[in-house]
């Protein structure tokens, strides 16, 4: 069935390309590959794509590849804010993502000038793209995906290898965090560009009375957390701390039923009356109401670079208590509160006064308004697209001056050969 759908897909695209080629534009063509699709309703990459399209369609001819599995036929659109949408009959995540990304890349080669690839699933084909075409490749490697506990060993090995190919064979690679830039510099010698996420799509919303009726515990001050229920997000640590803080409410939203980990935690902690473990809320307005009226945002992520939910919480001016890992410290500029275990979190919740929380919330808001707006993020991507189009060589992390041996020696400035690199902390 998938094979026949793919054949139909290629036939339609072939006709579509011929139709498009008759209409010449002066704009450079950018294809965004690797996301579930638009309109955005899945995760960080999709929201990023949404905003890139809204901010960049006036400058570039944009095409976004979407997963036909996620959008029913009646939901599908031909264009979205000026970008053409192309649907593939495959899942954008999981094992199918390899074929999904590969076919998207192959298809984009027929018309795009720049391939903006989000994720490394299809990276195996990039050596051939570099060898046989002149297309420019910009790739975002997301967090250090191969390290994540949710993947099986074969999946980790594939992602490990794919990440290497992605960085080596792209013209520009993007990290979303300084710590990941340090990692790519040390492992690959690549000067990765840091572009984080925007957060200004998150808007504060006043709590409605109907929501208070639905969730009576929202009448009292509460801490808030929303995340995928995975061990790396340290939900067990947060729950353990709040199980001892019986006077402090915690509202935590996530997909509890999707894993043994989530089911076990729900069984263990649902008896605590101050802990409210809610299933996913897809109504954005409801979610914004619950989130923006929290007293404090607890962020337990320990992997994955800059996390969209963290920057959104910062943008809303929520005081942040984050897991003490380099990514979170970088995202919050070291100005939030940090915990390493449930004991730390317990003490922070118990002892931090409201004035201090309010102050931290203001600081978080300032940081987010300065660094995490979509106009800023989109402008960085625009600069990268222009850079990719203007050069075929990739930037090296080692300064060029270190390679000019004889000149340095002649001018007696050999000391310039030995420079401390930004990742040598």
């Amino acid at each position: 069935m998938i094979v026949s759908q793919l054949i139909v897909f290629w036939h339609r695209i072939y006709i579509g390309i011929n139709k498009n080629n008759k209409v010449a534009t002066n704009k450079q063509k950018v294809a965004i590959i690797g996301t579930v699709g638009l309109p955005a309703c899945y995760g960080g990459f999709e929201t990023l794509t949404d905003h890139l399209v809204k901010n960049m369609s006036d400058t570039y001819d944009m095409t976004v590849y979407c997963s036909g599995s996620k959008y029913r036929k009646e939901e599908r659109m031909e264009t979205y804010h000026g970008a053409k949408l192309v649907y593939l009959p495959l899942q954008a995540n999981g094992i199918q993502s390899i074929l999904y990304d590969t076919l998207s890349i192959l298809h984009a080669l027929f018309f795009a000038d720049v391939l903006l690839i989000l994720g490394v699933a299809g990276a195996w084909i990039l050596p051939f793209v570099r060898l046989f075409t002149g297309k420019r490749i910009i790739i975002s490697i997301d967090g250090i995906e191969w390290k994540r506990g949710k993947w099986s060993r074969p999946a980790k090995l594939y992602l490990w290898w794919a990440e290497k190919l992605a960085v080596k064979y792209s013209h520009i690679d993007i990290s979303d965090n300084e710590s990941i830039q340090d990692y790519t510099a040390q492992r690959y010698g690549s000067l990765s560009r840091i572009i984080e996420y925007g957060a200004d799509h998150a808007q504060p919303a006043a709590m409605s009375s109907s929501l208070r009726e639905q969730y009576p515990f929202l009448r009292n001050p509460y801490a808030f957390k929303v995340c995928r229920i995975e061990p790396e997000n340290n939900i067990h640590v947060v729950l353990e701390a709040f199980s001892q803080l019986t006077k402090h409410q915690l509202v935590i939203i996530g997909n509890w039923k999707n894993s043994d980990y989530g089911i076990r935690l729900r069984d263990e902690f649902s008896m605590f009356s101050n802990i409210h473990m809610l299933d996913p809320i897809y109504d954005q307005q409801k979610l914004d109401m619950i989130r923006s009226n929290a007293v404090v945002y607890v962020h337990g992520h320990s992997a994955g670079g800059t996390n969209p939910s963290l920057v959104e919480a910062m943008y809303l001016g929520l005081p942040v208590i984050a897991y003490n890992v380099s990514y979170n410290r970088t995202t919050t500029e070291g100005k939030a509160l940090y915990f390493s275990g449930h004991t730390d979190l317990y003490e922070l919740i118990r002892t931090t006064e409201y004035p201090e929380l309010t102050r931290i919330g203001k600081v978080m808001k300032e940081v987010a308004h300065r660094r995490y707006t979509w106009s800023l993020i989109a402008s960085k991507y625009r600069l990268l697209v222009d850079e990719a189009l203007s050069t075929s060589r990739k930037s090296d992390v080692t300064p060029a001056v270190t390679k000019v041996d004889t000149v340095l020696s002649d001018l007696q400035i050999q000391h310039l050969k030995h420079q401390k690199m930004f990742f040598e902390k």
């Binding site: 090995l157 290898w161 340090d182 492992r187």
Partner: protein, 355 residues
């Protein structure tokens, strides 16, 4: 029934000999001390090979008449016993690698000069026959190389024993199927001895190691027996020569390809080929957090798959391509194992970035 008797006979001899040898080894210090690259935690007697050698000798005293049809086998066993003694001395007092190599080469020369050498190259890379002196030199190189390969693979509990056991079973089957029944007895007897050795090697009580004595002894028997059986099956005039060839290459692929890979890597990096390191295939498999037993079983399983695949495919494609195919499979396997090791190393490094 006779096979079962052979197995039980040699196994019983081993069960009787080993405890005595353990006592003697502990008294004189013929033990492998823990530390450095090693995984074991207590001094372990290096008597496995000596026990197998003594069992072989004692069994030969009661050998059936069919064994005499392969006169060269007496030379083969004698040279194996020389290597057994060499290995035991090395286990006891550390002999220089170059001297060990010299003795191995001399034993290979003796066996080759007595008539046991490759008779044909079976069309590998298009070559059938080469001048006799070249064939003899090539045979000496192969014997010495394979003996060392079996020596190097002795790195985790059970591995050398299981690989050798697989070899004896395969050689026993080949000898039976090609009408060399005089040797079938010999290989079943060896199998019984190795099974008994594995009982001690894999157990916690009365644990013993094979030692260099055992790996050199067994490696020499395996490679020379393989050559003898290969010549025997080629002389039958049917296709059994090619079949036996690919089976034997599949059997020895892992030890030989792994040792070649390691030698080439060391040479490329400017290091001595005799440098002791932890980058053999069994070390790379440790990156998957497997127990020594599972590592051994994994390697033996891969060997069996290689044998089976080579056996099936050689009916459709030439021997050269079968060999190249096995090398490619091995290369991909090593690539995956190296990637896993590198990934585990970086996983630890990243923890320091994240703190």
């Amino acid at each position: 029934m006779e096979i079962l008797f052979n197995v039980l006979f040699s196994a019983s001899l081993m069960l009787a000999i080993v405890p005595v040898l353990i006592k003697g080894a502990l008294k004189i210090g013929l033990t492998d001390m823990p530390g450095g690259r090693k995984l074991h935690k207590q001094p372990t007697p290096l008597v496995g090979g000596i026990a197998i050698g003594m069992t072989t000798l004692m069994s030969l005293m009661v050998q059936p008449s069919g064994f005499a049809t392969f006169e060269v086998f007496y030379t083969l066993v004698a040279c194996s016993l020389v290597l057994l003694i060499l290995g035991a001395l090395d286990d006891y007092m550390e002999i220089r690698a170059s001297r060990k190599l010299l003795v191995q080469v001399m034993c290979a020369v003796v066996v080759v000069r007595s008539g046991l050498h490759l008779q044909s190259l079976f069309g590998i890379f298009g070559v059938e026959n080469i001048p006799l002196p070249v064939m003899q030199v090539l045979s000496i190189v192969i014997i010495t190389g394979v003996v060392n390969a079996y020596n190097l693979i002795d790195g985790v509990d059970g591995l050398s024993g299981m690989v050798s056991l697989l070899a004896m079973i395969v050689l026993g089957l080949i000898s039976h199927l090609t009408g060399a029944d005089g040797l079938t007895w010999f290989f079943t007897m060896m199998s019984g001895a190795i099974v008994a050795f594995l009982k001690f090697n894999l157990g916690q009580k009365n644990k013993i190691f094979l030692g260099d004595a055992g790996s050199l002894f067994l490696g020499f028997i395996i490679v020379c027996s393989s050559m003898a059986l290969l010549n025997h099956s080629a002389s039958r005039g049917d296709d059994s020569g090619n079949t036996v060839l690919v089976t034997l290459i599949g059997l020895m692929a892992i030890p030989v390809f792994d040792s070649l890979r390691v030698y080439i890597e060391r040479y490329r990096e400017g290091r001595s080929p005799f440098t002791a390191e932890r980058n053999h295939i069994h070390h790379l498999l440790q990156g998957f957090e497997l127990s020594p037993l599972r590592i051994s079983l994994t390697i033996v399983t891969i060997s069996m798959l290689l044998i089976a695949t080579a056996f099936i495919f050689h009916h459709w494609i030439e021997v050269t391509w079968v060999i190249l195919g096995m090398m490619l499979v091995f290369r991909v396997l090593i690539f995956v194992l190296n990637s896993n090791r590198e990934m585990m190393t970086w996983q630890q490094k990243i923890q320091s970035f994240e703190e």
